[in-house]
C-alpha cells in the first residue's frame, strides 16, 4: 500500500464518518425536523459557515487560533493512519501503532487548550482549562484499555491486534474494555455528556468566539476525531475488518458506524457531568477499573 493510497483511504473514512455522525446527531438531537432534511443538513450548515465572515477578538493569539483546528484534524488523521481499514497491509503496518495513536490522542489536549486560550476571552479559556482537567483524569485509563488489547496479541501493531481476534473479538474477551474505551473516547473528543469545554454554561466555551470557516474547520476536525476514535474502537474491540461474506473495508465501515451512532445517541440524551465529578470519576472509578481490566485480561491471556 502506498502513501497516497493510505491518504485517500483515511480521507474517505474521515469525511464519510463525519457525515454519518452529523446526520445521526441531527436525527437524535435536532428540533422538529423531518428525516429528509437531516441528510442535507451537514452540507447546508457547512456552506453557510463557509460564507460567514471569520470574526476576531481584540487581541487574540492568532497563530494559535489558526493552528488549533489544523492540528486537531492532523491528529485525527494520524490516529486513523495507524489503523488498517481494508485488510492486512504488511507494507503500511506501523509496529508501534498503538503508541502513535495514544500520542496523537494526548496531543488533542494541546489543540483544544490553545483553541480555548487563543481568543483572549474568559469563557473559552475556562473551557480549555476544563478540558485539561478532563484529559489529565482519563488519559491513563484510555491508554490502558487500548493497551490491554495488545497483551494477547503480543504486539503494539494495530494490524496484528486485529488479526489476533480471528477466533474471538476482544469485546468478549475483555468485557470491561469497550465500555471504558467509549466513555474515555467521548471525553477525549469532548462529546456529550462530556462536552464540558463546549458547554451551554460557557455559552459555547472554546467555540464561543469562533465563527465562519474557523468554526466549520473545528467542527469538522472534531467529527474526524470521533471517527478516528470509533475506528480504533472497532479495530481493537470489534475485530476491525474481520467478518464473513462482506469485504473487509465494509466490515470496518459498518463497525465504525455502529460505534459512531452509539456515541451520537448518548451525546444528546445524557446530562453533562460537572467537571469535579468527572475528575473524581476518572481517577477513582475509571482508573482502578482499567487496572482491573489489564490484570484480569492478562491472567486470561496466560
Amino acid at each position: 500500500m502506498t502513501t497516497l493510497g493510505i491518504g485517500i483511504q483515511v480521507a474517505a473514512m474521515l469525511v464519510g464518518g463525519a457525515y454519518v455522525l452529523a446526520v445521526a446527531d441531527r436525527l437524535i438531537g435536532g428540533s422538529g425536523s423531518n428525516v429528509r432534511s437531516a441528510f442535507s443538513y451537514p452540507v447546508k450548515r457547512l456552506s453557510f459557515l463557509m460564507l460567514q465572515p471569520v470574526t476576531t477578538t481584540e487581541r487574540p493569539d492568532l497563530a494559535a487560533w489558526i493552528l488549533a483546528p489544523s492540528l486537531l484534524l492532523g491528529l485525527a488523521a494520524v490516529g486513523a493512519v495507524s489503523i488498517p481499514i481494508g485488510g492486512p497491509s504488511p507494507g503500511g503496518d506501523i509496529p508501534a501503532g498503538l503508541v502513535l495513536f495514544g500520542a496523537a490522542m494526548l496531543i488533542v489536549l494541546v489543540a483544544v487548550f490553545i483553541f480555548g486560550w487563543a481568543p483572549n476571552s474568559v469563557l473559552p479559556m475556562i473551557g480549555g482549562y476544563r478540558f485539561a482537567a478532563m484529559v489529565l483524569s482519563i488519559g491513563i485509563p484510555f491508554s490502558l484499555v487500548v493497551l490491554t488489547t495488545a497483551i494477547p496479541a503480543e504486539s503494539l501493531s494495530v494490524g496484528t491486534i486485529v488479526e489476533s481476534q480471528s477466533s474471538l473479538w476482544y469485546l468478549l474477551v475483555q468485557p470491561l474494555g469497550l465500555p471504558i474505551y467509549l466513555i474515555t473516547a467521548a471525553a477525549i473528543a469532548f462529546w456529550g455528556p462530556f462536552d464540558l469545554p463546549e458547554g451551554t454554561d460557557l455559552a459555547g466555551g472554546i467555540v464561543a468566539e469562533a465563527s465562519g470557516a474557523r468554526l466549520a474547520m473545528w467542527r469538522f476536525a472534531r467529527a474526524a476525531l470521533m471517527v478516528t476514535l470509533s475506528l480504533m474502537g472497532a479495530a481493537v474491540f470489534l475485530g476491525g475488518y474481520l467478518g464473513p461474506v462482506l469485504p473487509g473495508w465494509l466490515w470496518t465501515v459498518i463497525k465504525t458506524a455502529v460505534l459512531l451512532i452509539l456515541l451520537a445517541l448518548t451525546g444528546r440524551t445524557m446530562a453533562r457531568i460537572r467537571v469535579q465529578r468527572f475528575v473524581w470519576f476518572g481517577w477513582v472509578v475509571l482508573l482502578p477499573l482499567a487496572l482491573v481490566d489489564v490484570f484480569v485480561s492478562g491472567w486470561v491471556a496466560l
Binding site: K44, I126, A208
Partner: protein
C-alpha cells in the same frame, strides 16, 4: 455556477442560527420558537446571523443589545418579535404573531441576506477604542513595564488572596444580561480566580421591561379559576425544567419538556412523571445537580416557594386558601435543598398542579392581594421572591466553580421581569 454561488444556493434554505435577546412577556414564547422548523437558537452571537429582539425592554438595554448585534458574525439581520418602544436597534421586520409566523419571517430574512437580496446590517456602535492606547508603549501596545498600562486597550488583571493560599490573579468580569446560562436580563459581575467565583455582584440596572400581566397577577386582585392558575403553574415549571435540561446539555429531554409545556392538559400527571423519570435516567441528578447550590440553613426562606419547599419548609400560601383545601391540596416538600431537590420539587409541583387542575372544577382562589405564584409568595405592591433571591446571590455564589454557579442561578428560577416590577411571572 461559481463556488460562492453554489454555497449561497445551499446555505439559503439551511437552518437559521439565531441569537435571541428576550425581554418582557416573551420568555414562554421563546420556548416554542426553540423547536420551530429551520431555526436554531445559538448561545453565542459569533455563531449567529439573525438577532431576534423579542418583547419589551428599557432604554438601558440599548448598549448591550447593540454590542451583541455588532458581535454577530453575520451577515447580520435584526428581527423584532412584538418589540415595542423604546426600539433597541433598527429591525427589518417586527411581527407580533405566533411562533410559526416569526419563524417564517426569520427564514425569509435569512434567505434574503444570504442571497444578497438585502444588504447585511452595518455595525451599530462607533468604531472607537475603549481607552487611548495606540502608540503608548515602546511597541505601540499601550503598556509599560511588566503589567502596567493598558496594552491593546485593556489593563491586566491584579492579584488577590484566595482560600487556597496562592495569591494569583483575579479577573472581575461582567457576564450578561444576554448570557444563555442566566435568565434573560440578569447580569452578574463575577470576580473569577481561575474557574472559581470569588465575589459576585448583581448588576441592578433594569434592562427588561414588563410584559402583559399574567394569570397570577390577576389572581392578586380577583378570584381566579384554580384550573387556570394550576395549568399556568405547570407550564411555568415545565419550561423551567426545559431550561435546566438545556443548560445541562440534555437537548433531547429539554425539547420534550418544551413540547409538554405546550400541549399539557389537566390530568396529564403521567406525562410529567415520565419526564421526571427520564431526567433521572439521563443522570441529571448524579452527574450535574446533586450537592450543587445547597442553601445554608440560616437563610430566611419564608415565601420563597419551591426553593423553600425543596429545602424542607412546608410553606405555601395555598394551604390556608379554602378553595384549595376543598380539593384536598397538601404541599409537597423535599429535603437537602440542593439543585437536584429544587428540580425534583418543581417536577413534583408540576405533576401536582396538573392533578389539581383536573380536580378543581369551578373553584376559584386568591384575590386577597396575596398569591402563591410558581416562584413563591407574592403580595400586591411588594417586591416578590425573585427580588429576594437575587439579593441572596452575592452571598450564595462565591466559592463556586463556574459551572456550578450557573447551575445554582438556574435552579433558583429568577425572573428579571418579576425582580424589577415586583409582580408574579407568567
Amino acid at each position: 455556477m461559481g463556488l460562492k454561488a453554489r454555497l449561497v444556493h445551499l446555505a439559503r434554505t439551511g437552518e437559521v442560527p439565531v441569537f435571541a435577546v428576550v425581554g418582557g412577556g416573551y420568555r414562554s414564547a421563546m420556548h416554542q420558537l426553540r423547536h420551530a422548523d429551520g431555526i436554531r437558537i445559538v448561545t453565542s452571537p459569533r455563531h449567529a446571523s439573525v438577532l431576534l429582539i423579542a418583547g419589551t425592554f428599557t432604554e438601558a438595554a440599548t448598549e448591550t443589545v447593540n454590542r451583541v448585534h455588532d458581535q454577530m458574525a453575520g451577515p447580520r439581520v435584526t428581527v423584532g418579535w412584538g418589540h415595542r418602544e423604546p426600539m433597541l436597534a433598527p429591525t427589518r421586520a417586527n411581527p407580533a404573531g405566533d411562533t410559526s409566523e416569526i419563524a417564517a419571517v426569520i427564514r425569509r430574512q435569512f434567505h434574503d441576506v444570504v442571497t444578497g437580496a438585502i444588504q447585511p446590517e452595518p455595525p451599530l456602535l462607533p468604531d472607537v477604542d475603549p481607552v487611548e492606547w495606540r502608540g503608548v508603549g515602546p511597541y505601540g501596545h499601550g503598556g509599560t513595564g511588566m503589567t502596567g498600562g493598558t496594552p491593546y486597550g485593556r489593563p491586566l488583571a491584579l492579584r488577590a488572596p484566595d482560600r487556597d493560599g496562592l495569591e494569583l490573579d483575579q479577573v472581575p468580569v461582567t457576564i450578561g444580561p444576554w448570557f444563555a446560562g442566566f435568565p434573560p436580563g440578569l447580569a452578574l459581575r463575577v470576580s473569577l480566580q481561575g474557574d472559581v467565583a470569588q465575589a459576585v455582584e448583581v448588576v441592578t440596572t433594569s434592562v427588561v421591561s414588563s410584559g402583559p400581566p399574567g394569570v397570577f397577577t390577576r389572581a392578586l386582585h380577583e378570584p381566579t379559576p384554580i384550573r387556570d392558575l394550576e395549568m399556568a403553574r405547570a407550564r411555568h415549571h415545565l419550561e423551567w425544567m426545559a431550561d435546566t435540561l438545556l443548560i445541562a446539555g440534555a437537548d433531547r429531554l429539554s425539547l420534550r419538556a418544551d413540547r409538554l409545556a405546550e400541549t399539557i392538559q389537566p390530568g396529564d400527571v403521567e406525562h410529567v412523571t415520565r419526564l421526571t423519570a427520564a431526567a433521572r435516567r439521563s443522570l441529571l441528578r448524579l452527574m450535574t445537580l446533586r450537592g450543587v447550590g445547597v442553601l445554608s440553613a440560616d437563610i430566611d426562606m419564608v415565601g420563597l416557594g419551591p426553593v423553600a419547599r425543596a429545602a424542607g419548609f412546608s410553606d405555601d400560601r395555598r394551604t390556608p386558601e379554602p378553595a384549595y383545601r376543598d380539593i384536598g391540596f397538601q404541599p409537597v416538600t423535599h429535603d437537602v435543598g440542593d439543585a437536584w431537590a429544587r428540580f425534583a420539587q418543581r417536577a413534583a409541583e408540576a405533576a401536582q398542579a396538573v392533578d389539581l387542575a383536573a380536580r378543581a372544577g369551578s373553584h376559584r382562589a386568591f384575590g386577597s392581594g396575596e398569591v402563591e405564584a410558581p416562584d413563591g409568595h407574592h403580595q400586591a405592591g411588594e417586591t416578590g421572591p425573585a427580588d429576594r433571591l437575587t439579593s441572596m446571590l452575592d452571598a450564595v455564589l462565591p466559592g463556586m466553580e463556574w459551572g456550578d454557579l450557573v447551575t445554582t442561578v438556574q435552579s433558583l428560577d429568577i425572573d428579571m421581569e418579576s425582580v424589577f416590577f415586583g409582580r408574579p411571572p407568567t
